[in-house]
């Protein structure tokens, strides 16, 4: 395992903007956590009712069959199979329908031709589901078929789907944000974070389209910060990584490596994820949003390297943020050696 540590976790006083962003994210999570959990529990309970699930799948298949031009080939095939009586196809469609913006937006008033008794019951449950979604914080803060205004393009970056989601995003936000803020200044951090988030959401909407499930998370902004750190430091000296190869002494420690390694796994992973999955098939991660954020961060980095954007402060003050040119490899090894 190789993990970037950069400057580690610095004091909030050294990186106030970073910690302000962290605090906003944390506050939003705390405030919305309870409502989110209750909504999620009730939504899961409704979705798992077999009658509701089966009817929703059949209804989605019916809609796809009537409007074939509005859906992708995979959904058309799935609908054809479901209408031939394949219960697995129907159940798959039921699961996928929740993420389909067109279905979620229009199903309530759609005239389905099928089991009218089951449809009547389904409509009651579906209405309840939509009422819950209206009150679900993720739908309020995130981008979805219910809300996709400009406000949501900013607010979605501060909402998260769960504690794990929040934890990993904030970990990287604090690592990269503090590193950048102590080197380039707080304005770089907040500018990059917000622009990357915006670009990520735009790229997501253009490529994937607005989905039935809301887009939330700081990942696009954090990807932008990673791209900025990675590219802006490409001509500078190395950045610090923690490595752990084997649980023996001498096989873990800290090493200085080129900055492009910061971006290599995450960007390649996002591209692989975007190419290797489909939001229509229930992909849970918005890889295109990450890519959008990365591209925005890369643009900021290029502008910085070109001198168009200047640091908040001059070189005399920003010393700590830049690793020194090593006089020789041996001494840099001594400086960096932590274990082994």
């Amino acid at each position: 395992m190789i993990f970037p540590i950069l400057k580690g976790i610095v004091s909030p006083f050294e990186a106030p903007i970073t910690f302000l962003l962290f605090a906003i994210n944390l506050m939003v999570f705390i405030v919305t956590c309870d409502d989110g959990m209750m909504s999620d529990n009730r939504i899961n309970a409704i979705r798992s009712e077999s009658g509701f699930s089966a009817t929703q799948g059949a209804a989605f298949a019916d809609m796809i069959a009537r409007e074939p031009g509005e859906f992708s080939p995979i959904l058309l095939k799935l609908a054809a199979n479901a209408r031939q009586g394949e219960t697995e196809a129907r159940d798959s469609l039921s699961r996928l329908s929740h993420g389909n913006a067109r279905f979620m937006a229009t199903a309530a008033g759609y005239r389905f031709e099928g089991d009218e008794v089951a449809i009547a019951l389904w409509r009651e449950r579906f209405k309840e589901l939509q009422e819950i979604n209206d009150k679900n914080p993720s739908y309020h803060w995130g981008i979805s078929h219910l809300k996709d205004g400009w406000m949501q393009y900013v607010s979605y970056q501060f909402a998260h789907g769960g504690f794990g989601h929040l934890f990993y995003n904030m970990l990287f936000l604090v690592l990269f944000g503090a590193f950048l803020e102590t080197s380039l200044g707080g304005s770089f951090v907040i500018l990059t974070y917000l622009i990357s988030g915006l670009c990520g959401a735009i790229l997501f909407s253009k490529t994937t389209g607005v989905t039935g499930a809301p887009l939330v998370g700081a990942s696009a902004g954090v990807s932008g910060l990673m791209a900025l750190a990675s590219i802006a430091w490409i001509r500078k000296e190395k950045v610090h990584f923690f490595y752990y190869l084997l649980p023996f002494e001498g096989y873990f420690g800290i090493v200085a490596l080129p900055s492009w390694l910061l971006l290599y796994p995450s960007f390649l992973g996002d591209v692989a994820g975007a190419l290797g999955s489909s939001s229509e098939l229930g992909r849970g991660v918005a890889f295109t949003a990450h890519i959008g954020g990365t591209l925005a961060g890369a643009a900021v980095a290029i502008l910085y390297l070109a001198g168009v954007l200047q640091k908040d402060f001059d070189d005399a003050e920003g010393g700590d943020g830049d690793a020194q040119e090593p006089a020789d490899e041996a001494s840099s090894d001594d400086d960096l050696r932590k274990t082994g």
Binding site: A54, G85, A89, G250, L261, P265, V271, G276
Partner: protein
């Protein structure tokens, strides 16, 4: 240890011209002394993952998408093809990665970072491209073998696994402190032993798995194929359509065929539900589809049944078969009234409607409607009518098994036992082994109720014993075991308790074993223990063991209190199901015999609410209510009994209390009526 930054450019020029470790004048000793430590080699491969995993993810991404699409579409062949392609791409990536880096730089980035180098054995420099390629290819194959061949870094004297040997290479360490030298004897011994042990274990696992597969394939019992719907609806329905006279499989014929098969208990509710959904969502016959839904969800959701039945007639024409069937079904959903007399009055109006529907059916009525008419006629004891419908029945072959059984039951109830026996024993129309067994067990039970040790019972139950002797897997079914026990009950060649305990060893189910143990205890005179075990069996899962246990308890009951216990078990089993009626009638007969009038009244009233009350039952209720001091109830029952047509006898009511005939006349006179 600190990783070397392999990406830093030398201040003196291109990295490619520098060959650390290959320089002449390197006086680190011979190659053998410079061999890299296996741990370093492992650490290098771990370090490689940081570069390899994202690359592999990118390379295989299109194939992964195809695989997930194939999985969603249920196309297993395409999914497997995609998986194989994915594995192939991973292998290709690994081979290219290793080949390029080893050929260009003398080591992969992970090795370079740990200051290891791959050297050609004879030339002490980086391998040629062909050598690098061979090395990479074999390395990938070794990885596919779970990495076990890599243990050769310990077991081979020069720490050269097969991929090094085939390419004539070795891996050395540049820093002297990291050089491990040749393998020691201990290393070689332990590693060789480990490799052999792993190989032996894998061989054992593979052969065990293969043997299990063979055993499983050979021992699959010839049990009834449950009507399992495949994901594209039911195979049974498809077969029925293909067998149809017109020969063409039409979607419009699916639903009526499915309903007929369901009425004959040849398919499951889930199968019928799938057929109904197919018709409803594909603009099929909606009225028939709603009827099918009403039956399919019968066991699951009582509330929606009425909604579906209402939809049948509102969607279709009242004179069409689906609406008639819906009205029949509604009539059959009898409401339980506390006062049985009122219940009988309301039943009478429902009966009239049902009668008019059934009598309006003609030869062209769909098979499912005829089967419903047959079932109703049997339930109400109208056996001649049932036979008329049976004679005119034309429908799916698998429904024919039910029709044959219905014919046997009707003939039996009408007293034509000779024909009933012949049909039951030959069962020529039954192609399904399970249906044949079902009929054989029914006949065994019916004969035993007449005369348990008589020649006919012995022959009928002996047929079941023959089936079991051909394949003991049938002993997994409780009704078969029940019939088998009856076939053995009358044999006196063996001590009963020994006989039951010997049979117990052949029964796979725990409940069956417990029942046989109870019989053994009863035959040893341990009535209390036997009765306790019987109560436990009767209170458990509702199967043939529960029925037989209940009947045994009824037979053992000497007092009204004991009988009440047995009655409680009967109620818990669920009196709505017709299979428990023999127990109910057994309890009633015992109650009358013990003169437990209140108990007899309670049991008889519950039996009558099942809608199949015959004259014998109501005559017994007349006696019981009169003797219990309920004169007005007795009078109401008497009037109802006298109104009932004489031929309405239920098959399961086989015997009256010996005194009831004369006693009934006496009670009737006391109440001011005559037969």
């Amino acid at each position: 240890m600190v990783l070397e930054d392999v990406f830093s450019k030398s201040k003196h020029g291109s990295r490619r011209r520098s060959k650390p470790g290959y320089e002449s004048g390197d006086d680190n000793g011979g190659l053998d002394a410079r061999l890299a430590s296996p741990i370093d080699r492992l650490a290098a491969n771990v370090a490689e993952l940081a570069l390899l995993l994202p690359l592999i993810g990118l390379v295989t991404s299109p194939v992964r998408l195809r695989r997930s699409e194939a999985l969603v579409l249920g196309d297993e062949a395409a999914a497997q093809y995609a998986l194989v392609s994915e594995i192939g791409l991973i292998a290709l990536t690994l081979i290219l990665y290793h080949t390029v880096f080893v050929a260009l730089y003398g080591g992969t980035p992970g090795k370079l970072a740990l200051r290891l180098r791959v050297v050609s054995l004879w030339e002490n420099k980086k391998p040629r491209p062909i050598e690098a390629f061979l090395r990479a290819l074999v390395w990938t194959i070794e990885l596919a073998c779970l990495g076990i061949p890599f243990c050769a870094v310990f077991s081979n004297y020069k720490r050269r696994p097969f991929h090094d040997r085939i390419a004539d290479t070795a891996v050395i360490a540049i820093p002297r402190s990291r050089q491990a030298g040749l393998s020691s004897l201990a290393e070689m011994s332990i590693a060789s032993g480990f490799q052999s042990a792993v190989l032996a274990m894998l061989t054992l696992l593979a052969s065990t798995y293969y043997a299990d597969m063979q055993i499983h394939h050979e021992s699959t019992p010839e049990t009834a194929s449950s009507a399992k719907a495949d994901s594209r609806m039911c195979a049974e329905v498809r077969e029925a359509i293909q067998e149809a006279p017109n020969g063409a499989a039409k979607n419009s014929e699916r639903l009526p065929a499915a309903l007929a098969l369901f009425a004959a208990s040849a398919i499951s509710p889930e199968c019928l539900d799938a057929e109904a959904d197919f018709a409803l969502w594909r603009d099929g016959d909606k009225a028939t589809a709603y009827l099918a839904k009403a039956f399919a969800i019968r066991v699951r959701d009582d509330e929606r049944i009425e909604e579906y039945l209402d939809k049948v007639c509102s969607t279709g024409s009242p004179s069409e078969p689906p609406c008639k069937a819906a009205r029949l079904a509604k009539a059959a959903r009898a409401v339980t009234e506390p006062d049985p007399i009122d219940a009988k009055v309301s039943d009478a109006s429902k009966d009239a409607e049902s009668d008019s529907i059934v009598s309006s059916l003609d030869a062209n009525a769909p098979a499912y409607l005829k089967l419903a008419a047959i079932r109703r006629a049997l339930t109400e004891g109208r056996f001649e009518l049932a036979l008329r419908w049976i004679d005119s029945f034309k429908g799916p072959r698998k429904a024919g098994a039910y029709v044959v059984k219905a014919r046997v039951q009707a003939l039996w109830a009408l007293g034509n036992r000779v024909d009933a026996r012949v049909i039951a024993r030959t069962g020529t129309d039954l192609a399904d082994a399970s249906a044949k067994v079902e009929l054989a067990t029914w006949l065994c039970r019916a004969e035993s109720e007449q005369d348990a040790c008589g020649p006919f019972a012995q022959r009928a139950c002996g047929d079941v014993a023959s089936i079991v002797d051909r394949s003991e897997s049938w002993l997994a079914r409780s009704e078969v075991v029940s019939a088998y026990i009856k076939s053995q009950s009358c044999a006196t060649d063996q001590d009963p308790s020994t006989k039951w305990r010997d049979l117990k060893k052949r029964i796979p189910s725990e409940r069956g074993q417990q029942f046989l143990e109870a019989l053994a205890l009863l035959s040893e005179g341990k009535s209390a223990q036997g009765a306790s075990l019987l109560e436990r069996i009767a209170s458990g899962e509702p199967d043939a063991y529960a029925l037989d246990a209940g009947l045994s308890l009824a037979g053992l009951a000497e007092t009204a209190a004991n009988l009440a216990k047995a009655r409680a078990i009967w109620l818990k089993l669920g009196i709505e199901e017709s299979i428990w009626r023999p127990l109910g009638h057994g309890l009633l007969a015992k109650a009358l015999k013990l003169s437990a009038w209140d108990e007899a009244l309670t049991i008889g009233l519950k039996l009558s609410r099942q809608g199949s009350g015959d004259r014998a039952l109501f005559e017994a209720l007349v006696i019981a209510s009169y003797r219990a001091g309920k004169r007005s109830l007795s009078l109401g029952m008497l009037d109802h009994a006298l109104r009932l047509a004489p031929e309405r006898k239920a098959a399961e009511v086989s015997r009256r209390s010996p005194a009831s005939s004369a006693e009934f006349d006496s009670v009737a006179r006391a109440l001011g009526r005559s037969r």
